[in-house]
Amino acid sequence: MIRVQEEDFDVGAEIAALTGGDRSIGAVATFVGLVREMAPVEGETRAIESMTLEHYPGMTEKKLAEIEDEANRRWPLAASLIIHRYGTLSPGERIVFVACASAHRHAAFEACQFLMDWLKTEAPFWKLEATDTGGAWVDARESDDHAVARWTDKPDAAE
C-alpha cells in the first residue's frame, strides 16, 4: 500500500494495521525518516527552521506503486506500506515511513532498505530547507546513488 499525504501518521497504528490478522508474519522491518534540526546547507551546518517537501502529484504515486511492486516481486512479503508526506514540516516531524512484513527477517529488512534506497533516488520529491538566511534546496547525495546501485538489477532506470 502507498500513501502520499500532507498529514502525519501513527507508526504503531500503521504497523498494527499492516500485520493485523496475518499470522504468517514473523518479521516486520520499518523505517521512519525525520526532519533534523541541523543540516549541511551550502557547505555549512545550519539550524533548520522548517523543511518543505515539493512533489510531482501523479508521478509520485506511480513511482511509489512501481517501487513497492518491485519489492514484492523480489522478496516474499506478506504486506508492505510506504507513506511519504509533503508540505511544510518542522524539525522532529516524520517525513517518510516504510514497513515490510514477511515470514522471516531477512526479506523484511532487505525489502525495507531497498524501498528507502529507491525512494531517495527515484521518487519525485524535493526538499527545501528554510534557515535564518533563507531557503536552500537540498542537494542529492552521491552516497544515495551508491546505495541504490547495490540493488544491481535496476528495474526502472531511465530507458
Binding site: G33, L53, E54, H55, Y56, G58, M59, K62, K63, H84, I95, V96, M116, L119, K120, T121, E122, A123, P124, F125, W126, K127, L128, W137, V138, D139, A140, R141, D144, D156, A157, A158, E159
Partner: protein, 83 residues
C-alpha cells in the same frame, strides 16, 4: 503539450506548468530543452547544468533522446531528494 517544472527549476523559470504547442523541429526531449533555453534567461539558467536535469514524459523517467509528441506531459526537475 504540457510542461511541468519542479523545485529550483520551477523557481528559475518562474512557473510550475505551462501549455505549449509543440514547436516545429522539436522531436525529442533534448530538442525541447534547446528550444526552451533559447526562449529566455530564466530557462537558460534553469537548464544551465543540463547533465543533472532529469526528464519525465508522461510520468516515466526518460533520457533526452526520448521522443516528444503533441499531447505529452513533459516534466523537468533536479535530482530528487525525497525519502
Amino acid at each position: 503539450m504540457k510542461l511541468l517544472y519542479f523545485a529550483w527549476m520551477r523557481q528559475r523559470i518562474g512557473t510550475s506548468a505551462e501549455d505549449i504547442a509543440r514547436p516545429d523541429g522539436v522531436d525529442t526531449v533534448g530538442d525541447l530543452v534547446d528550444w526552451l533555453v533559447a526562449r529566455d534567461e530564466g530557462y537558460a539558467k534553469a537548464f544551465e547544468k543540463r547533465e543533472v536535469i532529469r526528464a519525465a514524459v508522461n510520468q516515466e523517467y526518460v533520457r533526452f533522446d526520448h521522443p516528444v509528441n503533441d499531447n505529452d506531459e513533459v516534466a523537468f526537475f533536479p535530482p530528487v531528494t525525497g525519502g
